[in-house]
């Protein structure tokens, strides 16, 4: 580490204004502050500030995402070997999954960071850390069989049109990772939904294998099946609530295990990076919506219990990692409740009522991203008018 510091100090003058590589200054600064603590000290007066800069916040989010990522890798391998009918053992299952997921992760980081670096270089700004989290979120919310060039294209689209045109990290209206997914979903629906994309199947699948996700099955279930309908795994065995919670089911890479997501949620809430108000009210909204649908209960989708809704699909993942994005969610304290509650409510409404979309979390969060500034505006306005009423000039 010391040798590295020395080396960086040695080459630093070359990258400063007027140096030989002066034009690559922001790339150099980005790498230096990534390797070491940013070397900024105030020039005048005394300032007290937290050590929690945006880089550290991003690092914590990445740590919180690790359980979901590792579980996603294992699950990818597990589903593959189930489809092949082979019992491969823990280690080789995990390694298979890791090798399948890593290319997606690398493509998403290389494309996203490449664009960020280029834009920062071009606009002569410092490189922001914004893509560190998006880059790991993107692989977690796509099906394993999405072609890499699609992910590269969608990442480029999202970083340019959802982030850089609005002014870069911290100015985006929409969650960048979700825009990537939305782009994939609308541009290449064949690769983003259906029975065959969520499991990397073996060349020879075992009899009775089906890669349909639980939400896909619920979506396709005929109305007569109400009451007797049972969600099954890839081999046709019924799934218990515990199976759904634990997450060895087909789905996008990181979303299946509510358990792993819960571990991440604990990290985020303990460190105070995600707002418990937003996160909690997303779950509350989802539970209220599904209880209301349970009361109506005229289709299979309506009779899915709240707990199943939370454990299936991307609901928990979206609630914990996406809806709580500090940039795109509401910033006011009351606004967080409204924003979160409506997100959860909408997600279930889309899931249950729209036959085109078995999963509604992506749409719900993107939709509420639009309304977050409006919610904040009215929360602030109502606060102002309440205080004005209280103030009386005599």
């Amino acid at each position: 580490m010391k040798a590295l510091r020395k080396y960086i100090d040695k080459i630093k003058p070359k990258f400063e204004e007027g140096g030989r590589f002066g034009m690559f200054r922001s790339v150099f600064e980005g790498i230096e502050s990534f390797l070491f603590v940013p070397n900024h000290t105030s020039k005048a007066g005394v300032h007290i500030h937290d050590s929690m800069d945006s880089k550290r916040a991003m690092t914590v989010v990445i740590i919180a995402l690790l359980p979901a990522l590792l579980f996603g890798m294992y699950n990818t391998g597990y589903q593959h070997y189930v489809s092949a009918g082979v019992d491969a053992g823990f280690v080789s299952t995990f390694i298979y999954g890791m090798l399948a997921v890593l290319p997606v992760l690398i493509v998403s980081y290389v494309v996203g960071l490449g664009i960020e670096f280029t834009v920062a270089q071009w606009k002569k700004e410092e490189i922001q850390e914004g893509f560190l989290v998006s880059g790991i979120l993107i692989p977690l919310i796509v099906p394993i069989d999405t072609p890499l060039w699609m992910i590269a294209l969608a990442t480029a689209f999202a970083v340019i049109f959802a982030k850089e045109v609005f002014g870069g990290t911290g100015y985006n209206i929409f969650n960048v990772a979700l825009v990537t997914r939305a782009f994939l979903f609308f541009a290449y629906p064949g690769s983003m939904s259906g029975d065959s994309v969520f499991v990397r199947t073996a060349a020879q699948t075992v009899d009775g294998f089906s890669g349909a996700t639980p939400l896909g099955q619920i979506n396709m279930a005929p109305n007569e099946a109400i009451g007797s309908f049972q969600v099954v795994d890839t081999l046709g065995n019924p799934l218990s609530l515990w199976d759904m919670f634990f997450g060895l089911i087909p789905g996008s890479i990181g979303e299946t295990s509510t358990l792993a997501i819960l571990l991440g949620a604990v990290v985020l809430l303990y460190t105070g990076i995600a707002s418990w108000k937003t996160m909690g009210s997303v779950f509350a909204g989802g539970i209220v919506a599904s209880l209301l649908f349970n009361l109506a209960g005229t289709t299979v989708a309506m009779s899915v219990t709240p707990w199943e809704h939370i454990c299936l699909g991307g609901f928990a993942f979206g609630a914990v990692f996406m809806a709580t994005d500090p940039v795109t969610s509401s910033r006011t304290e009351t606004g967080k409740y409204i924003y979160g509650f409506l997100t959860g409510l909408l997600a279930i409404v889309i899931r249950v009522l729209n036959p085109g979309y078995p999963e509604g979390m992506m749409m719900a969060i993107l939709f509420m991203n639009i309304f977050a500034p409006l919610i904040d505006y009215y929360v602030v306005q109502s606060n102002i008018s309440r205080r004005l009423k209280r103030a009386r000039v005599k």
Binding site: P147, W149, A187, Y188
Partner: protein, 208 residues
Amino acid sequence: MGLSNKNKAILLGPLSKNNPIVVQMLGICSALAVTSKLEPAIVMAISVTVVVSFANVIISLLRNTIPNRIRIIVQLVVVAALVTIVSEVLKAFAYDVNKQLSVFVGLIITNCILMGRLEAFALGNGPWASFLDGIGNGLGYGLILAIIGFVRELFGFGTLLGHQVVPDIFYKWGYVNNGLMILPPMALIIVAAVIWIHRSRNKELQEK
């Protein structure tokens, strides 16, 4: 045929610096609706060019006799008559395209570019200048429509004017047509990208 500098500016201005779509932000609705393929986009562009230039000429000839209070009604009557003619011609000679354009031929009447040019130009200028202004604006509109239609058809269907241009081998390698290109939101994003490029090339158009 030589054009004076003033007339040249009238004719060529709308192609770039004074473009009805990317600078004046008019006619966006039809630019989103008819551009999923190149052919309807071009036919639409021609129709609008014809209607706007002849409407300009007629209104310009009538401009001193139209009472000011009913000028909008007169303009609408003229435009509606021209649109009906264009629509009938399309039905007779280009029925398939006409079906693709569906209501949007009729909706040329409500296209903001038309009323905008009639109000802003034809009511105050002579017929020849008005004719050039109509042609210029129609071409400016058509240019953007053609760009959007080109991009959307190429990436959305892999074809241009109905002929396949993306080679079969690409599809074999795993290339897939982009479904988002066919949807109107992508047209909006392409318009935005065109505006982006246009403004970065013409600094004087950039808002502070």
